[in-house]
Symmetry: C2
Subunit: 435 residues, 2 copies
């Protein structure tokens, strides 16, 4: 439909076409009139460019067409590109040709304020808005940074199954499905499978969706969220914490480098992100309890650290903090205990700064067969569900460790969002299954 | 546990440590005796290295320890690295120190033949075997090549939801779950959501697990498999086929470049992969029917092309072939019809060579609101399930196209495997939910 002599370009690359005539295919983001000139903000999914159409340049018919166009109409514009420091993005197009593909009548999302429920109902359109667009581009970059981090370090990607046979830790937060007559559950974590992977590949990472049927209606919970779980053979708790801090530093650095524009759009205070540099502070659970009590919490040694407590702890630091050596009684059966203090587990949580709470949980795994059997018995878990997992301790057991990072919480923290619902294209929550 | 003065290295990097003494942490893959010398094949997940331990070098006690070690025992070895063209991998270690961590008694998978069911029951251990290890490393590389391809071309990764509210095309092959009192279904394809993404980001790709409760017990079917689905605004069928062939060429090229060793291990005939160069042959459905009839099939115009027919067609070519312009009656409601031949749909399938059948299906989407409404009515689909999807045609509709690639079938083809079950760490099939 376009004149074949014009080059079609994406807005994010338009700078390299300054001085030439190009064609952009996109949608009308905003329109403004001033006498015999119309200013169109055109978006194409990679950026937004200001286009100037004067009556003299485009002629009567096209000028009238522009006046009829509404927000989000699809259109193809051709014009010359020139640098303009005042224009958003630094470039502007002087149009010679405008083609309207499809006029959008009464686009529901206007620049005025809308309620959250309305926007969520229109999530398929809301993602076109500047702010949502920027967040999801940052999500893309975070995912790429995560994968690059592990790929560059020789980790093998190891996709764990989504369907799992046994309800290992109670069924209350599991989604269940009929699997040809059997019951199958949607995975809550790929870790156990990841451990099998680490024994085969040395170092692996899983990266996939996980599911929790939690009835929590909080700003931190999705029923469907993506997890990254590295697992490394011959790694101990210290090495695990080193890996985690190097990892987070690298991801934040990448976003700061490559998403400058998007961070501006969402008005993120990047000075707090710039502080995310190793080494991260480390504090034992026991010391953390002291900190909490000094700050007015009535938490006792042995208690779980909840959301409010996490906020208090993370507020003590200007960068992520790692809390380690939790009471073994409050940690999962597979966590290795401190050989010198059986009441402590060789695990850690990383809490994001700005009071945002846990983004990583991990630690060293129990690698002794007999100990693990006792733990499974003690927790009254079904032994037969763990036969294959126990095999990893029977055949060439080694010390090993890993951790899990929740992607959406990480995106939420890096973007400084108050709710995880904006961190994924189509969030799923207790009362949200559509669109 | 190792002497801190030795450098710990991974076997895949051992070449850069020739002439020095290093420590490798891994597992015993194989052992062979010859007089006062023991040859150990040690694997660490990144490679296998031959280690030579002589009684003179390691002493009586350690030599005896080696004799007690079984396959898959975990061990830490220290020794000097030297180049040896005859050794597998090109390097060999002369050991000075051997530490046994955990002896493996009666490791179930021996070098002798085992039945498939037994190996699948022991999948958590089977993945340590050379061949399975190589396949899953190739899988990793294919995934990375796919992501790099789209990332480098400015596509935004767009994760579609796994939980979907409506059973758009019948429930017979859908996995269902209770979603807080509602019914939710596991996604079969992210395409419809991907279209919303393309309108927001210009070009997107989805990459995630998809699910089909198909009762088929064939070598091509998994109930849980990963799909990649690019979707591009302002793209037509021709552009879509160009994108698909450039994509496949690029992925195959990457595997050939970076997985030379693994391709040798699985004894893949790479000459057929080297032929995967653009342009790929294109044949219309109508011409394909002629080819089938000439080759003894009794297929009539209008029939679906099944597995056997795909094999016949793909056997005509030495590279992937694209069959296009199918009868619209056998294609999904959202596929755009040829404006000049309403009975034809602007879709294509790509069939892999060596008679392997479809790896890609795609095409241009219907972008006219009224036409799409009529199609939904005609197919008696629930209109309310598509309200948001129809919005994409109401607000700034544009021509757009995309395709879906099945990851496991692609891995199977590139690796030359007879069954998809070896292409994913823990395959899920009709009678396989464990481990």
């Amino acid at each position: 439909m376009t004149d074949k002599q014009e080059t079609q370009v994406y807005i994010e690359n338009i700078g390299s076409h300054a001085g030439t005539t190009v064609t952009v295919k996109g949608w009308l983001y905003h329109k403004r009139s001033s006498g015999k000139v119309r200013f169109l903000l055109v978006r194409d999914g990679t950026g937004i460019i200001q286009c100037v159409a004067s009556l003299a340049d485009v002629g009567e018919r096209m000028f009238q067409l522009i006046d009829e166009m509404n927000q989000e109409s699809s259109l193809i514009v051709t014009g010359s590109v020139r640098e303009d420091k005042r224009a958003p993005g630094g470039y502007e197009m002087t149009l010679s040709l405008v083609q309207l593909l499809s006029n959008a009548i009464d686009y529901p999302i206007s620049p005025k304020d809308h309620g959250t429920a309305f926007l969520m109902d229109n999530r398929h359109l809301w993602i076109r808005s500047k702010r949502q667009h920027a967040i999801l581009r940052i999500r893309h970059t975070i995912i790429k940074a995560i994968r690059d981090f592990f790929d560059e370090r020789g980790f093998t990607l190891f996709d764990p199954p989504i369907f799992t046979p046994a309800a290992c830790e109670g069924t209350s937060t599991l989604f269940e499905t009929d699997y040809f007559g059997e019951k199958a559950y949607l995975t809550q974590s790929g870790q156990l499978y990841g451990e099998a992977g680490a024994m085969a590949f040395g170092k692996i990472y899983t990266f996939g969706p996980t599911f929790r049927a939690e009835k929590s209606k909080t700003r931190r919970h999705l029923t469907e969220f993506w997890m990254i779980e590295p697992e490394v053979a011959y790694l101990d708790l210290d090495g695990d914490m080193e890996l985690a801090e190097e990892f987070i530093e690298s991801v934040v650095e990448r976003v700061l480098e490559s998403r400058v524009e998007e961070l501006k759009v969402i008005e993120r205070d990047t000075s707090v992100l710039e502080k995310v540099k190793r080494p991260f502070p480390r504090i034992s659970y026991t010391d953390a309890i002291e900190v909490l009590r000094k700050n007015g919490h009535e938490t006792n040694w042995g208690d779980d650290i909840g959301g409010d407590e996490e906020t208090t702890i993370s507020n003590q630091y200007d960068r992520p903090v790692m809390v380690h050596h939790f009471p073994s009684a409050i940690k999962a059966f597979y966590m290795k205990h401190d050989p010198e203090h059986d009441e402590l587990a060789l695990g850690f949580d990383m809490l994001a700064p700005e009071g945002r709470g846990e983004i990583i949980g991990g630690g060293q795994r129990e690698d002794n067969y007999d100990t693990l059997v006792r733990r499974i018995q003690h927790e009254r878990l079904p032994m037969e569900a763990f036969d294959w997992y126990l095999d990893l301790r029977k055949y060439g057991s080694v010390p090993h460790a890993g951790f899990g990072l929740g992607l959406e919480r990480t995106v939420g923290w890096i973007c400084g969002l108050s709710h995880v619902r904006e961190t994924i294209p189509f969030p799923r929550m207790i009362s949200r299954l559509k669109p």
